[in-house]
């Protein structure tokens, strides 16, 4: 009873995602025991209803991914660049998932179980498309093709629904940033997951500069001043003292989007995520731009 209420009061994210999570909080009774070295692969597994048995940096999950929630029984393997092999070998996984980023450990991992590398963020690929491919692959490995079909449909439906809700509005372009400190931010643009989602939703990104192939550029905060009619979305976690420092800056106070109150802080969303993060971002952004959806059970956005 209490838990149900809490889920409802959980804010703008307490929508379909919660239901999916509730479905996925049990460790799999059947199918391969998977150890994952990447948050994006794990959130895909969670969406398929087949959680991993072990995950690197599991303790930081709630800081960076939040939704879908990581089930309680998932073992923490430590840093993804320094997997705790001794712990992993005792967990007897059937399959270990890696990406290019952690590939240096594959030789060692292969001594424990078969290794499969599924990289979403690569040079010259669309992360959203790669995330779809990866979802299909993982569905095959876990024998959950049905769940994958349903999930991909849900994704498309969510994108379409969000796009419809936004189509009626005349929307300004948006800046998507993660503040690094009080003077610098990562700004998200081409090649990134967020950009792919913006394209699906029909929202324009105000940042058209170069980015690396993870889809961001590190810039001084003053770079944001060049645009006129934009809305700014900043992802949590924010650096401490950020708002005090920015609030004291005449440059920041005179920015059109600051003057117009067009600054929105979004809850954390995994920037190197897969489809669940894409969907979470789409819903958070749409709710912020168009107001909370009518389907929202609690009706009160945070």
């Amino acid at each position: 009873m209490v838990i149900g209420r809490r889920a409802l009061l959980g804010g703008i994210a307490a929508t379909a995602a919660t239901i999916r999570t509730a479905r996925a909080t049990m460790l799999p009774a059947a199918g391969p025991r998977i150890a994952s070295l990447d948050y994006a692969l794990t959130e895909t597994l969670l969406a398929l209803g087949h959680p991993p048995i072990a995950q690197t940096a599991a303790s930081d999950w709630d800081e960076w991914v939040v939704e879908p929630a990581l089930p309680v029984g998932v073992a923490d393997l430590g840093s993804s660049l320094q997997v705790n092999f001794e712990r992993l070998v005792l967990l007897e996984p059937d399959l270990i998932l890696t990406t290019d980023y952690v590939a240096r450990q594959e030789m060692a991992l292969a001594r424990i179980a078969p290794v499969e590398r599924l990289t979403i963020y690569q040079e010259g690929t669309d992360p959203l498309q790669r995330a779809r491919d990866v979802t299909r692959t993982l569905a095959e490995r876990t024998g959950r093709q049905d769940a994958a079909d349903a999930f991909l449909e849900e994704i498309d439906a969510t994108f379409s629904a969000c796009a419809r809700r936004l189509a009626a509005l005349s929307l300004p372009p948006v800046y998507l940033v993660a503040f690094m400190d009080t003077r610098h931010a990562r700004i998200f643009g081409r090649h990134g997951l967020y950009q792919s989602v913006l394209d699906r939703l029909g929202v324009t990104n105000a940042y058209e500069g170069e980015t690396n192939y993870w889809g961001f550029a590190t810039v001084g905060v003053e770079t944001l001043a060049t645009a006129r009619d934009v809305r700014l979305f900043a992802f949590e976690p924010l650096p401490p003292t950020l708002m005090q420092t920015l609030g004291a800056s005449p440059l920041w106070r005179q920015l059109p989007f600051v003057k117009a109150g067009q600054v929105t802080v979004l809850p954390p969303t995994l920037m190197f995520g897969a489809l669940p993060s894409a969907m979470r971002f789409a819903e958070l952004l749409t709710d912020a731009l168009a107001g909370p959806a009518a389907r929202s059970a609690d009706g009160a956005p945070a």
Binding site: G78, E86, L90, D181, T182, N212, S249
Partner: protein
């Protein structure tokens, strides 16, 4: 005549520099000014105007302030220490502030304003104090800079460990460590200006006493001035100048070294002139650099922090300045490897050695089980766990033995007890090679990596030999070349990491020295390399015993110096190159192990070498054990843990030296 020459020299030089800075500044501000001139566009909001007034102008002012303050700090340090290489960067002042602020970011994130300044200055003061404790009375140019470098590397290693554990949180530390001048308000500039303005008074008061130092301590004392108090005051002032800058914008490397040297080269003779012209030149230099960075970042997507750029251009200057250092006035280079003191009875000594050896085996069976509880490995788990634990232990211990012997050789060769493989530059070369391979190849595998990194180390070795041959393999040349290379590596990693490129994390991770996931097939070649190379050191033991006596005695005793030095250098480099792929470039074991031996009171060359190897192996074995258990389930990088654990031990060992020598 001389006077007028010395006045116009720096003036002319500054004018030329001012011209360059002016051209670059105009290139940066011409656009916005033209737009301002054309009048505000309709619609009220004028981004060009806002940017110009609140971002570009304060940034230019900030560059001028920081350049002047750091250069004044460098000029004061060079004067008070009579050391042409002294600067906030080379003495570890920057690094101390950087580490202190990293710790503050982690444990007291809400600090800002004066709180931040206090943290930065406390860190700078602490690292400076440690550097002076390390050198004690041996204030020779090289010793001091060497101690500064070791402290800098150590602070850098600690910051790296923090970033590795809390990776994503602390990306801002990378930006900050690389010194970005980006501004969004006049407030930080005004704050810094006020702090610096307060310091002008003590600086002005110190000019005369500091100038008098050139006459010698005795003549200053005869004028009724307290030399020690002047020194402490001046160093304190230099720390404050650098600390305020670091707190405001981060680490701006090497400006404080380069500007005073340029002022001196341009002909500023008296200290007062040097101080003033250094500040002017430093301000112009940083202004020009920052404008160039601004113009460059307009064309590329990469985030270029100004501080790292100054370090990339400034650090090779150390190499260029070496020949000039010879001619300059400096205290003689003293052979300062203290003799061993027999403090322990032979029985106790033997017991200590045996316990070192036993610790190698003991840590194999100590660890944590799957749930994280401490355990002594039960025999039924051996088959499962030992294939993971044994190879990393063997490889770490073998690598530890190799760097220990390398450190022993280098300390004997250079006659400097702060010499170690880290400062030889060979491991920095290995790290460069690894960084390049990260960007060129997708995935090399462990063997490929070892090959590439060894090649990198050897390439540096060849370069050092060619470079050092010109100076007859003078030990200080070799050390300074290594320092320059390490500083360059640090700047390079800074640029990479500040932009947020995830490959920078892989690089930092590798530099931490991970022994994870090694197999027996990886470990046994390392162990064989250790045995072969340590055995190869046996025939040169006699040289090592004689060299610290000085060149003349060594030659008289029949050591072929022209041949012995390159031989020993190659041996040390091979030992380092073989160990670096396993434990990374930053362990300090090579620095520590010989001191452990000395403390045990061992004198004869053969036992010294063997016990140094044993101590190195034991330190790395214990570090490997700690790396795998203390932050469970997180696995720390073994090399960094060795540095973390070993450095305080080293400080204690060096501290006791004073009472025994």
């Amino acid at each position: 005549m001389i006077l007028s020459q010395s006045r116009t020299g720096p003036a002319r030089f500054s004018a030329a520099l001012a011209l360059v800075a002016a051209v670059l500044t105009v290139a940066v501000v011409a656009g916005p000014i033209a737009q301002l001139w054309a009048g505000a566009p309709t619609g009220g909001y004028d981004p060009a105007r806002i940017l110009f007034l609140h971002a570009e102008l304060p940034r230019l002012a900030m560059a001028v302030l920081c350049g002047a303050a750091l250069s004044a700090s460098g000029a004061i340090l060079q004067q008070v220490l009579r050391n042409p290489l002294a600067a906030p960067t080379t003495l570890g002042i920057d690094a101390g502030a950087r580490l202190a602020l990293a710790l503050a970011t982690l444990f007291a994130p809400a600090l800002f304003g004066f709180g931040r300044d206090l943290v930065a200055i406390a860190g700078s003061a602490a690292s400076t104090l440690i550097v002076f404790m390390l050198v004690r009375r041996n204030f020779s140019a090289v010793s001091l800079i060497l101690a500064g470098l070791v402290v800098s590397l150590y602070c850098g290693a600690l910051s790296a460990i923090l970033i590795m554990i809390k990776d994503r949180y602390l990306v801002s530390l990378f930006i900050w460590g690389a010194g970005s001048l980006a501004q969004q308000s006049w407030q930080p500039t005004i704050d810094l200006a006020m702090r610096l303005a307060v310091l002008v008074v003590p600086a002005w008061l110190l000019v005369r006493p500091l100038s008098l130092l050139e006459l010698g301590d005795a003549s200053v004392a005869s004028l009724g001035l307290n030399v020690t108090r002047i020194r402490i005051g001046a160093i304190g002032l230099a720390v404050l100048l650098a600390g305020f800058v670091t707190s405001a914008v981060g680490v701006i490397g090497f400006i404080g070294l380069v500007a005073p040297i340029l002022a001196r080269l341009a002909g500023a003779r008296q200290f007062c002139e040097r101080l003033v012209w250094s500040s002017i030149i430093g301000a112009l230099l940083l202004l020009a650099t920052d404008c160039a960075v601004t113009l460059l970042s307009g064309v590329s997507a990469e985030f270029l922090p100004t501080g790292a750029v100054t370090a990339i251009f400034g650090s090779p200057l150390l190499l260029f300045l070496l020949p000039r250092l010879r001619a300059s006035v400096r205290p003689p280079f003293e052979a300062s490897v203290p003799q061993a003191v027999a403090r322990f009875s032979p029985a106790l000594r033997l017991a200590l050695c045996v316990s070192l050896a036993l610790s190698l085996v003991a840590v194999l069976f100590l660890g944590r089980d799957a749930s994280g509880a401490w355990q002594i490995l039960p025999p039924d788990a051996w088959a499962e766990i030992l294939p993971w634990r044994a190879p990393r232990l063997i490889a770490a211990a073998a690598a530890g033995a190799m760097v220990a012997v390398a450190g022993f050789i280098l300390q004997r060769l250079t006659g400097n007890e702060m010499a170690s493989p880290e400062v030889l530059g060979v491991s920095a070369g290995a790290a460069f090679a690894f960084a390049l391979s990260l960007f060129i190849f997708d995935d090399l595998g462990l063997l490929g990596e070892s090959l590439v990194t060894s090649l990198g180390g050897l390439a540096v070795l060849v370069a050092i030999i060619f470079y050092a041959r010109r100076t007859g393999f003078s030990p200080e040349t070799i050390l300074l070349a290594g320092i320059a290379l390490n500083a360059l590596l640090d700047a390079f990693v800074g640029v990479l990491a500040a932009g947020g490129d995830p490959r920078a994390f892989i690089l930092v991770d590798w530099m931490g020295g991970s022994t994870q996931g090694l197999t027996m097939a990886d470990a046994i070649p390392v162990a064989i390399a250790a045995l072969v190379l340590v055995a190869a050191s046996l025939p040169v033991l006699r040289w090592l015993a004689i060299l610290p006596l000085g060149d003349r005695q060594a030659a008289a005793l029949g050591v072929p110096l022209a041949y012995a030095r390159p031989c020993l250098l190659v041996l040390a480099a091979l030992l380092t190159a073989a160990a670096t792929p396993i434990i990374g470039p930053l362990t300090f074991v090579g620095l520590m192990a010989p001191h452990v031996v000395r403390m045990l009171g061992i004198r004869r060359p053969l036992p010294t070498l063997l016990v140094a190897a044993l101590a190195g192996a034991a330190i790395m074995a214990v570090a490997d054990f700690l790396a795998r258990t203390i932050a469970f389930p997180y696995q720390l990088p073994t090399g960094l843990v060795a540095a973390l654990v070993g450095a305080p031990v080293l400080l204690i060992l060096l501290g006791r030296r004073g009472s025994t020598s």
